[in-house]
Amino acid sequence: MKPLLEVKNVTVRFGGVLALDDVSLEVRPGEFLSMIGPNGAGKTTLMRVVTGTVKPVSARIRLDGRDITMLPTHQRARLGLALTHQIVRPFRSMTLLDNVTLAAGHHRIGRVIRALTAVDRSAEREQARKYLELVGIAEAAEKSVLGRPLGVVKRLEVARALALEPKVLLLDEPLAGLNTAEAARLADTVAEINRGGLTVVMIEHNLGEVLRVSRRLAVLDNGRKIADGDPGAVMRDPAVRAAYLGKEYQDAAA
């Protein structure tokens, strides 16, 4: 099968730091790919190159066969990329429902004239409510984002990304900040949506959930991809063990 998302030869430099060193990744339609790796490995940066919010030194990105490397972020999003932020970025001046309603109205804000002449939001609000229910935070729908606990805002990120009806859902540590039960539930929800056909790429430190729900595992370490494949095989890979154990030794020594 042809890859749905094709990320080729991504190199990113932040000043003197080589954050990504020639990383390539292919995601096939319907896959549930998880990406793990120590802190600072470059996972978030890779996602941000895909959405176009970080300028790479070099990269080639294709979505559904189309080269999107030169496109601005909003156009990539319109073509079917949705991202949830590791560091949450809700619209703080809006309610939870409005946050998701805006995303559900993505087809309404594409053309200036149409966006100026249309006012009806009822269908999108209804949709938005469904997504809030799906991630389990519908009871806070009408509340302001301000003052919501992290676990709620994290799930708001997911609801908002789903409301974009993307081709590929990119999740950056969606389970961080959730308690065990909430994390398991959200992981199940995402897995279920994936079984419904949506392609998912999830960065996550929660190894238990990662191994439980994902069907492919990629490992980044120090800006390089060191493993990619069946989760069980990847976890037995000596290089992966070294990256993790090395990290643990360092942490223990510190």
Partner: protein
């Protein structure tokens, strides 16, 4: 109504259109402009010269609106390239640039301004009614934009540009639309002012005017249409009733802006919202007690 009240009401109407224009840019879309008076001036000068050249009044005002909107669009385009906090400085620069140009150019009247602007062909009461009808129209227009999907996208841009982009919002298109609409409204206000005063001077469109309009928007509560209208009425009438204020305008508006930003960033709109909330809360308590 005496002549004086009529001219005050006309001025209030013009200022409402002017302030609602800036509210479109700063209130709805979150783009601070310190040069709104320049577009007011472009509208006024364009309409003045058109009228003097014999153009009918509506055509003169329309020309002022179009030219102000086009220059606004151009300024909006450059604003896409500057970082958010530089926008205030860029627009302030546009304000001074406008002043510099009209002051230096003899054909634009120089320091002396433009006098002998033909009457709009309506007597004073009729003109007031026309201005107030237009103010009502732009109020309705503002309310519509706020409710529209574009207004929703503006809100997102004002809140967090980067997140808006990830959610498919074309941030550049939003800013340009807001700039074009807001500055075109300033142009209308300028055209109406030129025919009302029938004599305009560069200083009518200076930095103090920009700050005054910004105060009207900020005190009214950034983004709230009715808040902006109320504060425009108050801030237009206050210097008329308390003459001494005119001498300290910049000081007063500076203090107002500082005070609002420091202590009540939501302005009048936030204040009434807070009062209403407090009302609901105390009503709730009474119910619980009773």
């Amino acid at each position: 109504m005496g002549i004086y009240e009529i001219s005050l009401a006309t001025l209030v109407g013009i200022n409402i259109i002017l302030a609602l224009g800036l509210n479109m840019i700063s209130g709805f879309c979150g783009q601070i402009s310190l040069g709104h008076a320049a577009f007011y001036g472009i509208g006024a000068y364009t309409a003045a010269f058109m009228a003097k050249a014999g153009a009918p009044f509506p055509a003169a005002v329309l020309a002022g609106m179009v030219l102000a909107g086009l220059v606004g669009l151009a300024v909006g385009l450059t604003s896409l390239r500057v970082r958010h906090d530089f926008l205030a400085i860029t627009t302030m620069g546009v304000g001074f640039l406008f002043l510099g140009v009209v002051r230096q150019q003899e054909i634009l009247g120089g320091e002396l301004g433009v006098s002998g602007i033909p009457s709009p062909g309506l007597e004073k009461t009729g003109y007031m009614v026309l201005v107030l009808i237009l103010a009502a129209f732009f109020t309705a227009f503002s309310l519509w934009i706020k409710r529209s999907w574009m207004g929703f996208a503006f809100e997102a841009v004002a809140d967090d540009e980067d997140t808006a982009r990830v959610l498919t919002v074309d941030v550049a298109a939003c800013k340009l639309t807001a700039f074009a609409m807001g500055t075109a409204m300033a142009g209308v206000a300028g055209g109406l002012y030129a025919s009302f005063a029938r004599f305009i001077m560069p200083d009518d469109f200076g930095f103090i005017t920009s700050i005054t309009v910004l105060s009207m928007v900020a005190v009214g509560g950034i983004g709230s249409v009715f808040g902006v209208i109320i504060s425009t009425v108050i801030l237009t009438l206050m210097p008329e009733f308390f003459r001494f204020i005119s001498d300290y305008k910049l000081l007063l508006y500076g203090a107002l802006l500082f005070g609002v930003m420091r202590f009540a960033p939501e302005g009048l709109a936030g204040f009434t919202r807070a009062v209403r909330k407090a009302g609901i809360r105390s009503a709730g308590k009474k119910e619980a007690a009773g």
